[in-house]
């Protein structure tokens, strides 16, 4: 297991280095950083001085090394557009995105697994069939249309929920949370559903097909033959055995949630890093783009790593077992 973990960690680092190279190249070659930082009135001496300060006169590998060192320390330079450190801006925006991603992730997992189990157990029921048909439509709907539809129904027509923004937030340390105010909680409902719906559908369909597969397994028949209760069979025996593939997909989907938050945040004008990224693209704010890329890669790679390690805690067959080695 240790060898496996090390190998995974090593692979993750390689991926991050490659992404870092992409981010650095953007930084270095897309637009001239000197151009962007100095105004119209500049002298050759200014340029030379800044070039020296930024280390742009040094060989490429050294510049890359410096970039990585800064990145590890959370220093991504100054936003061209806001003229503030990128790290500060990201730190301000991150709570909004993370809270949104967490709520929609929980929503997707809770309803995805629940409906998946339900549609598998009541395979031929009317409700299960209806859910499956609707889910097919849900997969082909683009996210932003779902968001707009929800806004139209719940904000425009019914007026129950706000259509944009985070509502009131409370600051706890450096973290601004919307979980502690009524308006903050109301504001997160629509964006979280919009963001989580696609993932929920995927998880539901996966859980259903895995459950149907597992319910045919011999050990489920054997569990039935031993007179175990249906609930124990469905949840303790069957559901647990579907978890390995489900966790793989769910883990990757959680990464996707953070990426897809860009779309949802734009629809709902949710003040998170996704909206920041879209604005950065519109105004070619390279440092923000590069920092976002690095940030999201770390999250992706981290999630992948955690997913791999989670297998071990679920499936004993993957563990190196001492008792078998002894016996």
């Amino acid at each position: 297991m240790l060898a496996f973990t090390l190998q995974r960690v090593f692979q993750s680092i390689v991926v991050l280095l490659v992404v870092g190279l992409v981010a650095f190249s953007m930084f270095r070659f897309v637009g001239d950083p000197i151009d962007n930082m100095l105004g119209q009135e500049r002298t050759d001496a200014d340029i030379e001085r800044l070039r020296g300060e930024l280390g742009l006169d040094q060989p490429f590998p050294i510049q890359y090394g410096k970039f990585l060192k800064n990145a590890v320390q959370g220093n991504f330079g100054i936003s061209y557009r806001q003229a503030r450190p990128v790290s500060t801006i990201l730190a301000e925006r991150a709570p909004a995105t993370l809270e949104l991603a967490a709520v929609s992730g929980l929503f997707a997992i809770f309803f995805g697994v629940g409906l998946g189990v339900f549609t598998a157990i009541r395979r031929d029921g009317f409700a299960a069939n209806a859910i499956m048909t609707i889910s097919l439509l849900g997969v082909s709907l683009p996210t932003f249309l779902i968001g707009i539809l929800l806004i139209y129904v719940f904000a425009v027509e019914l007026g129950w929920l706000p259509s944009f923004g985070r509502g009131d937030t409370v600051k706890i340390g450096g973290w601004s949370t919307g979980f502690l105010t009524a308006s903050g909680l109301k504001a997160i409902i629509l964006p979280a559903i919009t963001l989580g719906l696609y993932q929920m559908t995927l998880i539901m369909r996966l859980v259903r097909s895995e459950m149907l597969e597992v319910l045919r397994a011999d050990y489920i028949r054997f569990a039935r033959a031993r007179g175990l209760k249906e609930r124990a069979i469905n949840f303790r025996h069957a559901l647990k055995n579907t978890l390995v593939p489900v966790i793989t997909v769910t883990g990757l989907q959680l990464g996707a949630i953070i990426a897809f938050a860009i779309i949802t945040e734009t629809v709902f004008q949710w003040p998170g890093v996704g909206l920041l990224f879209i604005n950065a693209i519109q105004f070619v704010d390279i440092p923000v783009m590069a920092a976002y890329l690095m940030l999201i890669s770390v999250m992706f790679v981290g999630i992948n790593l955690i997913v791999d390690l989670l297998y071990f805690s679920i499936d004993p067959r993957l563990r190196i077992d001492r008792s078998a080695a002894e016996g």
Binding site: S140, F144, L145, S163, F260, I263, M289, I296, S297
Partner: protein
């Protein structure tokens, strides 16, 4: 005539004629593509000709005469007085053009890289397939956004609007080549070890060119299936990017841009500005998607 009747009797044709979903989907796709192609002749107005626009026509409701000009627009008009129906037709041209071209680009790139990877082997193969793996870790839409942002940064400021469509095509195309490359590489690996390739090598012929002639027919069906499904994804990706304001420029609005404009009028009750483009986008994406699903089943019964 002979070829035609043979085609009619083939399994493929039989499967098509017995799938109502495939027939309807193809019908919808053809209708939409045709009306987009023929937009300049079909559309009652040219929404991009400023001379034909009348601000007085703004916010006309569908099928109701405008209060000032008494003109009637089937699907109403937007804030600028542009006919929504005509704008959809022209917008669909952009969406379809970007979709088709991006998929074509991804196809050529993916097939080429897959061929090179499978044929060359060694570190070339490792590099290409590793890049593919890393790219697959990230959602395609994110990759496309990033490429769009970088490309926008490279383009001179005064050319950005002009180049936006091409940047969009490259961004979506680059985010979508991996699937093609994987299939073609797999087929190439199989073909590489066959005798005729070894023989060609022995007599000093360039086996690459010969292989190409043998591989392409083999991968035609999976590539066609991937291309169709990619087309649906590309159309949605284009709409999403344009909706986010990082796609088609305001001067050349696509379906996504129209939806973006329409969202602003949701609260004031001008529902038609967003509804009709959204329905068109859905119909387009859904029918291409269903067609792709059917194609996959029809061409590869094993995968069902």
């Amino acid at each position: 005539m002979e070829a035609l009747s043979r085609a009619w009797r083939s399994d493929f044709s039989w499967s098509f004629r017995h799938s109502p979903v495939a027939i309807i989907s193809l019908g919808v796709v053809l209708l939409l593509v045709l009306s987009a192609l023929l937009a300049p002749w079909v559309a009652p107005h040219n929404p991009f000709d400023p001379a034909s626009l009348n601000l007085m026509n703004g916010f006309t409701r569908p099928m109701e005469p405008n209060a000032f000009t008494q003109e009637i627009f089937w699907l109403g008009t937007d804030d600028q007085g542009r006919d929504v129906f005509s704008t959809i037709l022209y917008g669909m041209r952009i969406s379809l053009f970007v979709g088709f071209t991006a998929v074509l680009f991804a196809l050529i790139l993916g097939v080429t890289l897959g061929l090179i990877a499978g044929y060359a082997g060694g570190w070339t193969e490792t590099t290409i397939m590793r890049v593919a793996d890393v790219q697959l870790t990230f959602p395609a839409i994110l990759v496309a956004m990033l490429i769009f942002g970088i490309a926008k940064g490279i383009t001179p400021v005064d050319m950005r609007d002009e180049m936006a469509i091409w940047v969009l095509i490259i961004a979506i195309g680059l985010s979508d080549w991996v699937q093609f490359a994987r299939v073609v590489r797999g087929a190439t690996l199989v073909e590489k070890n066959k005798e005729y390739v070894q023989a060609a090598r022995l007599i000093g012929r360039k086996p690459g060119a010969i292989m190409l002639r043998h591989i392409l027919p083999n991968v035609m069906s999976p590539v066609l299936v991937i291309a169709t499904i990619s087309l649906a994804l590309a159309i949605i990706a284009e709409a999403t990017l344009s909706f986010l304001g990082v796609g088609a420029p305001p001067t050349q609005p696509s379906l996504g841009t129209l939806i973006r404009i329409g969202q602003g009028y949701l609260f004031s009750g001008e529902w038609w500005i967003i509804l009709f483009p959204a329905i068109t986008l859905l119909a387009l994406a859904l029918s291409v998607n269903l067609l792709g699903d059917w194609l996959r089943d029809a061409l590869n019964p094993k995968l069902r």
